[in-house]
Point group: D2
Chain length 286, copies 4
């Protein structure tokens, strides 16, 4: 509740003896107090991963400097580090189309204080949810997308992300495929919710696919969006049980609950600096 | 416990008004008492499915005749029916290779009285589990399989199924692909356990595939084996949560628990005459 | 979707041979077509339960009469029946206090068309959620409750239920204990959501109790409210996993998700006429 | 697989700044390499908990000395430590009565290599499972218990634990209440499996209690046995879904699966030195 602001570092690099001690020692030597430290070794790949969170002893004006110094220290160990100051709440832009369930869910959780971040705007290819966004006090930008206008639309979207200084973009059932160029130039993480248990039923209309195959569980997958559609690093997944009694409409309805829950958890972890993506996988320090 | 023997019919055919009343009326007119009746309509396909279980009023020697008469009655309604006398316990042959966890699980559940059926024999392509089978008092037949001997081996297996009058064959982590011809001529249902959440990770080494993809849930799928490998009607599925901490070995270990549970539930439902396969799907009257 | 209106009967009474056939026969004789029929026998108690749903052949003006005739027919078999016309959507009043998560969830599901019923009003002992209710277009009545004014407040609440012709009252985290007299005279079912896995942690502050005990799962329970606090028939329950890392605040946050889901499912089943309460239990025909 | 033997310390004591750095520094200074380190703070109680696992640089004969030195070091920080050498596999005695499912499950997992420990003997108050134990190559001791002989029986059991140098005792559905004196003098941890979701349905015949109450989930709880029956620190819990269709016999059958799984997981965590009990709770470093 009245927790003091902290620094969180997400590190990874080639494994070597003494990393845990060196990182802890560096923080301790500067008067910092480690609140949480969690690490993981990928034995096959020989990679070390760590999330460490500490109360910095630096005076308010010097925290930024400690961030930079820690990054340099990590680099000296051969590791990449992303260091965040938890007093700087991340700024989130949500992209939506017509389905509103994930957007309501994110907005209500944000207002209930469940997220360590701020929703700052919604961007949509349809005008439908303008009133909903307004109800939550959020600016709403309509950027229509057609095959012809896609390039211009993506340029407009990027401009909006920059204008709002977005730290994270959430595709909350946004129904347009993002171009590879767009994802290359976006410059901030993008979390997507796919309405199936990936890699099953990648592509379009996954509930129809699931119904046609006769599976007994349906799922949802939150992942970072990458150039390879539906192939990005998975952050979270969950499933729900279905039976022969459930038609496609039921799957869609039940899936909404899964999508909301899975997306919200992934976003929550990301905003808490708990997710480290590497290759096509994630390490989630939960 | 001291439930009297009952008849169970599994019916399906084109939907039409009055089917529930006609079936109930037929049974009632013969003095039968319906214990359970459950039905399902596939609205899209216009197909009616029903499982009905009743205490027959027929004297012991006449139950067989009531079975035949019910089938004829169902045919007169345009429906196919499979009618079973629950006093005739189904006979089960289990096929295994080297992994023994599913076999132990099935045998222990059988001995604990959890199944409405009898294990009557085990058939394997390896000698490894002969002692285990003996411990459960089960005959164990080794039928080695190589590319050259496959046809002869399958002929030998079919002969064993006939010899044991098997009503059901269970592939309890049996690691040989069955030929299409074998499945065409086998003449009794075959339940397989696949160690993934199908249709994800069909084919070989699914835990390795799952680990490589970085999924957050692993699964197991029990399905009827058909000519199309890993494409048969799914009876039951379940999943378990994994994290970045779990290596392939952990997935294999955790998967054993899933495989046991999913296979046992599917077998249990089948032996209780609760599963009706149609097309590449199942209706499970649980 | 374009399903024709149907009648649903929930029946129970002493078990006797032929009930399934007699009910189906009665409906068939009047030209009705049974869509679903599900039954249950409590073998110990000798009680028969059934839910049967059919398309009536009665002309629009005569459906009410068929309802009455079916009830009389059921009575002639010694059974109690509640017969509902699904074209008459049930009217629901929601009672709330300050916590808004369940109310938002119910209202959004209602607007998404997930419920076979209409929210018609909200009643609260606090003014806090007036704006929220207005946002959903729902009348909001504040009825403050103190020890001294409780009797008068309950009379006012009953008057509101009658005024709105409520078929169902939902206690969506309403934080006042209802008096026994109130529950005796309320005359319509009341569904409550309790924020624990009953019977564990009945009474107040269940998340604090759960945290103190060190349980590894928290739960939520939707039940019909009866004179015996937290003892009414349970409709639905679910749990979520917690660890030593979760403080009471985390349990409260995670519990909100459970409460929403469990309450919504119970309400959905009730509105679909799938729940039959008897004694302190329920039969849920799902 | 070919992991070198490691030391694991489980620490707890009053929280203070620098603990993570000091522990890591101590190990690093002795040439040790930390494989895993996980910590937890109970903010309310001001208690710090840690599990740290490292590859010791000490020559084989000196590992025992490093264990002792680490304990002394921890004491100098005001902390209690339990330090284990993972090359010394824990020795486990299993107590059983007549129900054999948990015993089979533990024995099969042990033989499959799932446990970091050795089953060394079974002790029972009944002769029934002698053959089963023999099948697994385990000594089986029958110690009958009656009200009159309880004290002598418990003395005999303690003697057996000592004789087998047991590090852990598992009550695998052992149906005798242990006396407070017995638990005081037993001198090694005891894990019990209770067949309900504690604290619901403590005491006898929990499945009967659950059925009478009409709950929609049944559970199982693995906990350390303490003088306060069913009140010891909970290690693990899980639940399974039941409906009105399930009688007490079904609950008992379904509960067996829960009991096996929950007990095995708790035992696995204990043998991996992942469980730290304090007060009536546990910290599980999974």
């Amino acid at each position: 509740m009245s927790t003091p602001p902290t620094l969180v570092a997400l590190l990874h690099g080639p494994d070597q003896p003494g990393l845990v001690a060196k990182v802890a020692g560096w923080i301790f030597a500067r008067g910092g107090n480690i609140l949480h430290a969690d690490q993981h070794r990928d034995m096959e790949a020989g990679v070390f991963f760590q999330r460490v969170e500490w109360i910095s002893a630096a005076p308010a004006g010097q925290v930024e400097r400690e961030r930079a110094e820690f990054s340099a220290f990590a680099a000296s160990l051969g590791m990449q580090a992303r260091v965040s100051d938890t007093s700087q709440r991340l700024r989130v832009v949500v992209m939506v189309s017509k389905a509103d369930h994930c957007f309501h869910d994110l907005a209500l959780r944000w207002r209930a204080g469940e997220f360590a971040g701020e929703l700052v705007a919604a961007v949509s290819n349809h005008p439908d949810m303008a009133g909903v966004a307004q109800g939550y006090g959020l600016p709403y930008h309509v950027v229509p997308v057609t095959a012809e206008t896609k390039a211009a639309a993506e340029a407009k979207q990027l401009a909006l992300f920059n204008e709002y200084r977005a730290d994270l973009v959430i595709l909350a059932r946004y129904m347009q495929v993002l171009s590879a160029g767009f994802l290359d130039s976006i410059g901030r993480p993008v979390i997507n919710i796919h309405h199936s248990f990936l890699p099953a039923f990648a592509g379009g209309r996954p509930y129809h696919q699931a119904h046609a195959r006769g599976v007994k569980l349906i799922g949802a997958t939150a992942h970072y969006a990458t150039r390879d559609l539906d192939e990005g690093p998975i952050i979270h997944q969950d499933v729900g049980r279905v039976t022969h009694r459930h038609g496609v409409e039921d799957l869609i309805r039940m899936g909404r609950d899964l999508e909301k829950r899975v997306l919200a958890q992934a976003v929550r972890w990301h905003l808490d600096h708990r997710v480290l993506a590497y290759g096509n996988k994630t390490v989630v320090f939960d």
